[in-house]
């Protein structure tokens, strides 16, 4: 995996992790307005980041894509458990 791609993916992973952590916090603190504002702010950043990554590299999810081309890209891109591309083992 090239460096730019890995950086973009890592940045999205960080934002999505922040969302997950806020999500669990809000489950038990559903009236915390500050946390909800923080969630909303992070979600809009993550949405942009995700769209940008998918435009440049490959789809991360399937159901929200409506301009699919042949061949079906989902099977072409790497799976998260593979590390060949980014300096791992051959």
């Amino acid at each position: 995996m090239n460096r730019d791609k890995q950086c973009a993916l890592n940045e999205l992973m960080q934002l999505d992790f922040r969302l997950k952590d806020l999500h669990l916090y809000l489950d038990t603190h559903p009236t915390d307005q500050r946390a909800i504002d923080e969630f909303n702010k992070t979600a809009s950043k993550a949405k942009l980041m995700r769209e940008n990554f998918e435009k440049l590299y490959y789809p991360l999810t399937v159901n929200d894509k409506e301009n699919n081309t042949c061949p079906w890209q989902w099977v072409k891109s790497p799976w998260p458990w593979e590390n060949n591309e980014n300096g791992g083992m051959k």
Binding site: T28, P59, T61, P80
Partner: protein, 197 residues
């Protein structure tokens, strides 16, 4: 239902194989305090949870555990990739290899296949939440044992992340339990429960 996101929750890129370490870490895949047991425990308990924040916490923590299961599977896979027969023999990986090759099988470090006997679904709010608090602590302790045996930073970093998540989940379950006790006390005192909060 679930949607799949083609990425891990935390990055894992292991450069050096280490089948011995993989055999320890596989316990968090299919062992008694592992991520498979955790996800099944919470996702099965959620149906009988009688109030809103309990249903949400169990559903959403159970979902995060599935992402952790994927991380552990990834670590085991990357630690055992492309092993030669010599490496398999030299690192004590032979017994596992004979049964599962380089596949990732849900078992404990001692080789016991995954069993639902390691978890409980009692259909009782207080019993289930206390089970979950203990489960998070047992998982935390297991990760700490693994950290004592691991010397590869590529493995240590994701394991530290997973250890930290156990502590966050413990915190969330504690909040749900306190709310549950509050509601039960309110019911005892006034004869009515808070319907939903």
């Amino acid at each position: 239902m679930w949607n799949y996101d083609k990425k891990l929750q935390y990055p894992i890129n292991i450069k050096n194989t280490n089948p011995k370490l993989a055999q320890f870490i596989i316990s968090q895949y299919g062992g008694p305090d592992g991520e498979l047991a955790a996800s099944l425990r919470y996702l099965s308990q959620r149906y009988s949870m009688p109030f809103e924040i309990a249903r949400a916490a169990l559903n959403d923590i159970g979902t995060e555990e599935l992402a952790h299961l994927e991380m552990i599977g990834t670590i085991v896979h990357q630690l055992t990739k492309n092993l030669t027969p010599e490496q398999v023999k030299a690192q004590g990986f032979g017994p596992y290899y004979v049964d599962h090759g380089l596949g990732v099988y849900p078992q404990s470090a001692a080789g016991t296949p995954f069993t639902a006997a390691a978890l409980q679904v009692k259909g009782d709010l207080i019993a289930d939440l206390n089970e979950n608090l203990a489960a998070e602590q047992k998982a935390r302790a297991t990760y700490e044992n693994i950290l004592k045996l691991a010397d590869d930073p590529d493995v240590i970093e994701p394991i530290k992340f997973l250890r930290a998540r156990e502590i966050v989940h413990y915190q969330r379950f504690g909040e749900v339990l306190r709310k549950a006790e509050e509601m039960i006390n309110h019911k005892k005192k006034y004869g009515i429960g808070l319907k939903d909060c």
